[in-house]
């Protein structure tokens, strides 16, 4: 059974048809590259999965059960996590504080509860170790490299039992070495049975890490095939419209 199944999803803003009749499914432990030019509907599609927008038409099924989400917090409860393009990190806080932002651990009785620093440092440290990232929970995020910052943002998705992680352009603005680090982080998520959707403009990254590629053009899905059966040339053609559609 698929983790997530989208059936005939459409979204329009007034007269603008941003996403038009898109269907696809995600399997556990699979990395799917979502590609397309600016304005192709990638972001809108991802924002519907993340609970920011509600689809105008169509249904979403999570492990076979139909779900309707009104806000991002509900998506999170369903085990859908998103790593935002700007990472949504606070530079003035520590790595551990950022990982737990909005879901801080506390200890104490009843209303008298204080932040549990020790537990948060410990768990954050474990998550960074799982991700094989040299990131110290006590360091301030402003002192960190691009790769470490990604690790912090990704560790956030691993706090709860996430089923799906959506990553918006995680490799857009970082150095070559850090890109390799981030792709490794994505593989670690996949190895834990999480379905990863990688939204990216960078062809080499998608072909490096993804199992499948979905190409969007003008709000429609124009390709959905195994990476092994495709090529960067074909995907480029699909993005630009030189190739109309493939099965």
């Amino acid at each position: 059974m698929s983790v997530l199944e989208l059936a005939n999803i459409s979204k329009h803003f007034g007269a603008i048809q941003a996403v038009n009749d898109v269907s696809f499914s995600l399997e556990a432990g699979e990395v799917v590259g979502l590609m397309g030019d600016n304005g192709a509907g990638k972001s809108t599609l991802v924002k519907m999965i993340a609970g920011n927008f509600r689809p105008s038409h169509g249904t979403m099924r999570l492990e076979g059960k139909e779900i309707v989400m009104h806000k991002p917090a509900e998506a999170r409860q369903h085990g859908i996590e998103i790593v935002h393009q700007d990472l949504a990190l606070c530079n003035n806080l520590t790595a551990a504080a950022n990982v737990y932002l909005g879901r801080e651990l506390r200890r104490g009785i009843g209303p008298f509860r204080i932040l549990d620093y020790a537990a948060m440092y410990k768990r954050a440290g474990q998550l960074f170790a799982e991700l094989k990232s040299e990131t110290r929970p006590r360091d301030l995020v402003k002192q960190m490299s691009g790769g470490q910052r990604q690790a912090v943002a990704i560790a956030r998705t691993m706090l709860s039992q996430a089923k799906i992680v959506l990553m918006d352009e995680p490799t857009a603005a970082i150095s070559v070495r850090q890109v390799a680090e981030v792709l490794n982080l994505i593989r670690h998520l996949r190895d834990q049975g999480i379905a990863v959707v990688l939204i990216s403009h960078r062809m080499p990254d998608v072909f490096d890490v993804a199992d499948r590629v979905i190409v969007m053009r003008r709000g429609r899905k124009v390709a959905d095939k195994k990476i092994a059966l495709s090529s960067p040339e074909e995907v480029t053609g699909l993005i630009t419209g030189a190739i109309e559609q493939v099965a």
Binding site: N91, R136, Q143
Partner: protein
């Protein structure tokens, strides 16, 4: 490889000492201590119990309001209305008690006034999207004007049946001869420090100041928290107003004029960053202490009081300069 990943992750980058030396509040404490030592030797009148009693008590009013301001400044906001709010709150207390109500009712009315003003500021800023500067600048004018309306611009110095209780509250020294305002300041500073370090609310305040967008995306209730910090700021001004009324024994409509600048100066000298995300309770107190020691010393050293503004302004610029120098070194 000799160092494992786990060791790297467990490593602490900073020792206690290196953290201390990088801390602006620490250097301000040193400055205050040095200034006090110097003044003890340079003048006969500084280290007298009467003068020290005066200094500590004078620090408290600015310090208590600075504690509330710290919350606002950490979120990246500013509250220019505190001086006027202090005056209005003092006046509400004075007028209520003068009319024959008990001290409890007077204090209750004052706190309700403060919270209502804070909520008004906060809602306009958080929900309507006004810049904090504009809203609180408007409130600076409104609150002072309301204080004049409430008292018909007279001096109130009779506080009805509970007159003596109010004077004891602000002017007494209930514990070891320490002036009551100082005790209140210490208690409020401990509460502030606790909230900032140990509560989810405190953590979220820092998050908003660091990256408001990120705080929103991660589910922090940004708008509610913003309203709360302006209410805390107004409340601290209200409490300082109650205490100051008891201490002075009279309220005039120019009480707290220009106080907002001293309060903001105290928080900034103590290490808070006006861009948001940084600030401590201790910083607010030592910032206020440094300002008061400068003021006091100028008087004792026989320097013309007109120089006060220059020295305090210089201290603000110097404090921010140190912060800039540290940041330059970090970015190299």
């Amino acid at each position: 490889m000799a160092v494992t990943l786990d060791q790297t992750i467990a490593q602490k980058q900073h020792t206690f000492l290196s953290r201390l030396l990088a801390n602006q509040t620490f250097w301000v404490v040193i400055a205050v201590i040095l200034a006090c030592l110097f003044l003890s030797f340079a003048t006969d009148s500084f280290a007298t119990s009467k003068n020290l009693f005066n200094i500590t008590r004078n620090v408290t009013f600015v310090a208590i309001v600075a504690l509330g301001m710290t919350f606002v400044i950490i979120t990246g906001g500013i509250d220019l209305s505190v001086g006027s709010v202090l005056c209005l709150c003092s006046m509400v207390l004075a007028v209520t008690m003068h009319a024959g109500y008990s001290i409890e009712i007077g204090i209750l009315a004052t706190i309700v006034t403060a919270l209502a003003i804070g909520a008004f500021n906060g809602v306009l800023i958080a929900y309507v999207g006004f810049p904090p500067f504009v809203v609180t600048l408007g409130m600076l004018s409104v609150a002072r004007s309301l204080a004049m309306v409430a008292s018909n611009n007279t001096v109130v110095f009779q506080f009805g049946p509970d007159h003596q209780k109010l004077l004891a509250l602000g002017g007494g020294a209930w514990l070891f001869g320490i002036a009551n305002p100082v005790l209140y300041m210490i208690i409020l500073a401990l509460i502030t420090g606790f909230i900032l370090r140990w509560t989810k609310f405190g953590r979220h305040i820092f998050a908003i100041g660091g990256n408001e967008h990120a705080a929103t995306l991660t589910g922090v209730p940004v708008k509610q928290i913003k309203v709360a910090v302006y209410m805390i700021s107004a409340l601290s001004a209200g409490l300082a107003g109650i205490i100051q009324t008891g201490w002075l024994g009279a309220v005039t409509t120019n009480l707290g004029t220009g106080m907002e600048l001293q309060v903001i100066a105290a928080t900034v000298i103590g290490g808070a960053n006006l861009a948001g995300g940084v600030g401590t309770a201790l910083g607010a107190i030592v910032g206020a202490a440094l300002i008061e020691v400068i003021r006091n010393s100028l008087g004792l050293l026989g320097i013309n009081a007109f120089w006060q503004g220059t020295f305090i302004g210089g201290a603000i610029i110097l404090a921010v300069l140190f912060d800039r120098i540290r940041n330059f070194r970090r970015s190299d």
